[in-house]
């Protein structure tokens, strides 16, 4: 939305003259009225289909706008989800292969946590969501390894699904074993697809492992990853390039095992990346990192951050110094601060902080 007054050279002035038609907006702001997918100032995607994989995991088929770039199997995309009016950013692995050629891609989401729950339960077909471009380096190497091993847990199956269907579409699926952990047989995401792939491709062998079987006979940890289990289910695992994605406990056990056996170089991991916000104790300040200026300052719990920044030698924009005018608003990069008027903790990463009426509450990073 930033107003850009076109450049000053005569040619560029003439070339950019049409932009004045929409000033101070962009022509894209009007195109998006007709079809949000035509906008160029912001990449949007339309939800064209929803499909429940299990009782609480759903695949959303998304049609991205014009400026989308094809992903690599295993990459993720950021999605902005409105939760109680606020746009929250979440990252999801693309579960469809890049070879899919109808201009759409899919994400498969488990209804856990505010953002994902809203995406699974509230977002309807026809909704438009702001998205980012595909990113991430959890991708298959080139050239392809001769043998693969996928170890996935729960909804962590999504990158493996994208990789497997991509390999199948490219007709180059190597000898692949797939250990997939899920709570029980009713909660296996992509269960039918895995069986179908195994039937039509003899070089693919999926193994389902249940950690909490529904009949309740097995003890809780029986199915969890162990060295013995790996040796039993995939004796030649040391010859395989391993791609793993799943809950943190599973990945920790895997990493430890591969380090112990000096096989770490074969292990490729993708984490869900849940940031665990540490709730600050009352009345405690913290270390304030001023990101743009590269300064670290200690601040107490009662000095407002505008003053903290000024004492560090900065001259942040400001007006009223009492929380009225919002001239001093700064983006919170990470951590948390306290609103001195209400005592409320503000820890929404990416949200605005009125630094003249906020103090450090634990460590924080500000876009200053």
């Amino acid at each position: 939305m930033k107003a850009s007054i076109p450049g000053t050279s005569l040619l560029s002035r003439i070339a950019s003259a049409p932009r004045f038609l929409a000033y101070p907006l962009q022509i894209s702001n009007y195109l998006e009225l007709i079809n949000p997918l035509w906008s160029s100032h912001r990449l949007m995607a339309r939800v064209v289909k929803v499909w429940d994989e299990t009782k609480n995991a759903r695949t959303l088929t998304l049609r991205p706008g014009r400026h989308w770039k094809r992903h690599q199997a295993g990459q993720y995309v950021s999605i902005r989800i409105p939760v109680a009016g606020k746009l929250e950013t979440r990252y999801y692995t693309i579960s469809s292969p890049p070879e899919r050629n109808d201009g759409c891609f899919t994400i498969t989401v488990k209804a856990v946590g505010r953002g994902s729950h809203s995406l699974v339960r509230d977002i309807q077909v026809g909704a438009y969501l702001p998205i980012g471009l595909p990113d991430g380096d959890f991708v298959l190497p080139d050239p392809l390894p001769e043998k693969l091993l996928f170890i996935t847990g729960g909804i962590g199956i999504t990158p493996a699904m994208s990789m497997l269907s991509s390999l199948i579409a490219r007709k180059c699926l190597p000898d692949s074993v797939h250990l997939h952990y899920s709570p029980n047989e009713f909660e296996v995401v992509f269960d039918k697809q895995l069986k179908e792939m195994a039937r039509s491709h003899s070089q693919y062998r999926p193994v389902r492992i249940f950690t909490q079987p529904a009949d309740g006979i097995a003890s809780l940890n029986e199915g969890r990853f162990s060295a013995a289990q790996l040796d039993r289910l995939c004796p030649d695992w040391k010859e395989r390039e391993v791609f793993a994605c799943g809950p943190e406990t599973m990945l920790t056990a895997l990493t430890a095992h591969f380090e112990r056996t000096r096989m770490s170089s074969k292990l490729h991991l993708e984490r869900f990346g849940f940031g665990s916000p540490n709730v600050p104790v009352d009345g405690v300040g913290g270390l304030v990192r001023l990101v743009k200026s590269g300064l670290d300052v200690e601040a107490d719990a009662s000095t407002n951050l505008l003053l903290v920044a000024e004492q560090a030698g900065l001259k942040p924009n400001h007006g009223c110094r009492q929380g009225i005018c919002h001239t001093c608003n700064v983006k919170l990069v990470s951590g948390s601060v306290r609103d001195l008027r209400t005592g409320k903790i503000i820890d929404e990463v990416g949200g605005p902080v009125q630094i003249c009426v906020s103090a450090a509450a634990g460590n924080c990073e500000l876009d200053l």
Partner: protein, 407 residues
């Protein structure tokens, strides 16, 4: 109706209680912001852009009905009806953009949604005054120093005597005329006001100091002129000119000027309307003005009380509130400038009842009575004197002797 003196006698404890009550209301609204608010602002933005685009297209289409085309429907009646309709739609779009969208977005009312498209830091409005400049003169100066003589730039816009406490000068004799001129060129006046050229003339600042600000304002003005008075008329000419070469259709200069006139009418319509609403915000009837000392010694609760005493509401229906950018709830806006404007209407009864409990005035009236009162003030105060409400407010905490009221 209170006369002569401040009608409030509040103890410090009462003032602080008012502060707590209003803080609680503010907190409640902040906690309850959600999907319905997001839907509201997004729908308003969509509607506004539709109106703007629609208006431009109708203006373009109207030109095809100029009599010189010679076809069956071509007549001044059809042409002018369409042209006026298009200009009206465009003017409405500009009003909604300036009042209900931009003004409120720039107050950071919608920052909480974390929607990149709707942020106070990046919103540039359809007005010759650059947003950056507006945020300083309006959000900071006007809202912090509301009705404080010598500090609030909006007390008479440095041009009018709207309060008897402003010392009379012969210059004010002409203010009925200045007020009219201001209405016509309102957006330009606001853009120029923000530059504070007066400080340059009085030697408090130099041209060099405000150069970058002047450049920014000139650029913004240039871009707005380009859009409404060059590019759009040019586009319409470009679409009709091939026919002119074939020997029929209107002269290109006529087309250019008609479109330019329609756009000018839209801007004028917006200027008149915003002027009408904004002049009812702090000028009518018994609003109070304050001294710098009073404002400097007040607490946050005192600031709330000052906002209440310094602002006036306008009664009206839902559509009127919307078209006024909810500035018809000027009191609620001044108490809670960063709460979403669609909530002011539901807060108004609570604020009004609270004001009543503390025997504080709550200045409201119809558009006719509020604007009538403003017009009367402008006429009356162009001459010396005028009935003062008294600046020595009888706040128990504010009992200092009266300060000089010189602006």
């Amino acid at each position: 109706m209170p006369t002569g003196r401040m009608p409030v006698r509040l103890t410090e404890a009462q003032i602080e209680e008012i502060g707590r009550e209003l803080d609680a209301i503010r907190h409640e609204v902040i906690e309850s912001r959600g999907d319905r608010d997001r839907r509201y602002i997004r729908n308003v933005i969509k509607t506004q852009r539709g109106l703007a685009l629609g208006g431009r297209v109708i203006i373009l289409a109207s030109v095809l009905f100029l009599p010189s085309w010679g076809h069956g429907l071509a007549s001044y009646t059809v042409f002018l009806s369409l042209l006026v309709f298009g200009a009206f739609s465009l003017g409405l779009a500009k009003i909604i953009e300036n009042m209900e969208i931009a003004h409120n977005v720039m107050h950071a009312q919608w920052d909480w949604m974390r929607d990149e498209d709707i942020q106070s830091s990046t919103w540039e409005w359809d007005n010759v005054c650059p947003s950056a400049e507006w945020k300083v003169s309006h959000n900071y100066k006007h809202h912090t120093w509301t009705n404080v003589l010598g500090k609030d730039p909006d007390v008479g816009y440095g041009m009018l005597r709207v309060s008897p406490e402003q010392r009379w000068k012969p210059f004010y004799l002409g203010q009925p005329i200045y007020a009219l001129v201001l209405a016509v060129f309102f957006e330009w006046a606001i853009a120029i006001q923000g530059l504070e050229l007066g400080r340059v003339f009085s030697g408090k600042s130099s041209l060099r100091q405000i150069r970058s600000q002047v450049n920014m304002t000139l650029k913004k003005m240039g871009a707005q002129i380009m859009k409404d008075y060059v590019m759009w008329p040019f586009v319409v000419v470009a679409l009709t000119i091939p026919f002119a070469f074939l020997g029929f259709g209107p002269a290109w200069i006529a087309v250019f000027l008609w479109v330019l006139a329609a756009n000018a009418a839209a801007n004028l319509f917006r200027n008149f309307w915003t002027y009408l609403i904004i002049f009812c915000g702090h000028f009518p009837g018994d609003v109070y003005v304050f001294t710098k000392k009073q404002a400097e010694e007040e607490t946050r609760a005192g600031w709330y009380v000052r906002q209440l005493l310094a602002s006036c509401n306008i009664r009206g229906g839902k559509l009127f509130h919307f078209l006024s950018g909810n500035l018809s709830h000027q009191i609620e806006h001044h108490l809670f400038p960063d709460l979403p404007s669609n909530r002011y209407q539901e807060l108004a009864p609570r604020v009004r009842a609270m004001a009543d409990r503390f025997e504080l005035p709550y200045n409201t009236g119809s558009l006719v009575s509020q604007f009538g009162s403003t017009v009367w003030k402008i006429l009356r105060l162009s001459f010396p004197g005028g009935k003062s409400l008294g600046m020595s407010l009888e706040f128990n905490t504010w009992n200092e002797p009266q300060e000089s009221t010189e602006v």
